[in-house]
Point group: C2
Chain length 195, copies 2
């Protein structure tokens, strides 16, 4: 049995797992799970992941694992996508935790509301734009001095952060205001064979 | 030079770092940073952490690191607080990411609004209670079958999750409704020498 990825193709969190597996050359089965239509809230799915979230993977030995950044860390451990230097490993994790706390809840959520739910601008919480732009500004500052988020080559931090940054315009964020981020998105997309 | 922890003693995210360092017997200097009074938003602090958040640590070699769960992972790497089994390591990370995405933003935020800002109940977003209780319910289900979150002994997952769970009552959450969680809080507090 090989790796099985339960994911929703609209979800950047799920695509992170696919891209990491592809970059590492891992064989896997992709099982499409439609979040909007409640397919994560079935009893069968909750057996795999009680938190009822995608992505969830079932490893080759049959054991389940959840949380996008925990999954990609597990898959990439020992590969060139995670530095072998202890400090750079920690900085990679720092970006992954920052992504889930200070980036995804604003950029991914605004994109979901605007692009998938067609929520009118006036009904979207203004703090999603303010905090999303703050996240992009923080990345812009970093990327002014470095081609990638950790060290000078592609790492899990780039894979994790690019997932929702590349679709930020679908959430109404203008990447032209963040040229360093826009250039980094293109660089990472090319590294991942997405462009 | 030893480890320096920049933290706010009211913040569970900062206390995680202190408890991990204490449990590991690491020497450190604690520098109190008052978040409510803007001490993270100074230029000097932003040099350490552009995200202007505590905890931030400066390692013995002078390099800074942020994000509570990335910091405790870095400090505890190679210790008994992280399993040496690859799958259990991944499950530990799964809990850490879940904590920052599905637990802290509801339980810690409601506690901050209620306990520190004295926000009237009627002005607190109702979803903080709903999602905070969902997080506690998920922990209750797990802890019905296990004394700790990973394996059968204390790990970083327990240290990370106990930080805001133990003060959930300050946010108006009734732990009597989650007896398995309440018993686990006591167990972890005892392990950490907090009770």
């Amino acid at each position: 049995m090989s790796l099985t990825i339960y994911g929703d193709s609209m979800s950047g969190n799920c695509l992170k797992v696919k891209w990491t597996a592809d970059k590492l050359g891992l064989a896997y089965d992709w099982v499409e799970v439609d979040v909007v239509n409640g397919q994560t809230r079935t009893d069968a799915f909750r057996t795999l992941n009680p938190a009822a979230q995608v992505p969830t993977v079932v490893l080759a030995d049959g054991r389940p694992l959840a949380q996008s950044n925990a999954i990609i860390w597990h898959l990439a451990e020992g590969s060139e996508l995670i530095s072998s230097d202890a400090y750079l490993r920690a900085k990679t994790l720092e970006w992954l935790f920052w992504e889930q706390y200070s980036h995804e809840p604003y950029i991914a959520v605004r994109r979901f509301q605007k692009f998938y739910l067609n929520t009118p601008e006036a009904d979207i919480d203004p703090k999603l734009r303010v905090r999303g732009e703050a996240a992009l500004a923080r990345m812009e500052t970093w990327l002014a001095g470095s081609p990638y988020l950790v060290d000078s080559r592609l790492s899990l931090a780039d894979i994790s952060l690019v997932a929702y940054t590349r679709v930020a315009p679908e959430g109404g964020f203008d990447l032209a205001k963040f040229p360093g981020v826009a250039a980094w998105v293109k660089r990472v997309e090319q590294d991942l064979g997405l462009s």
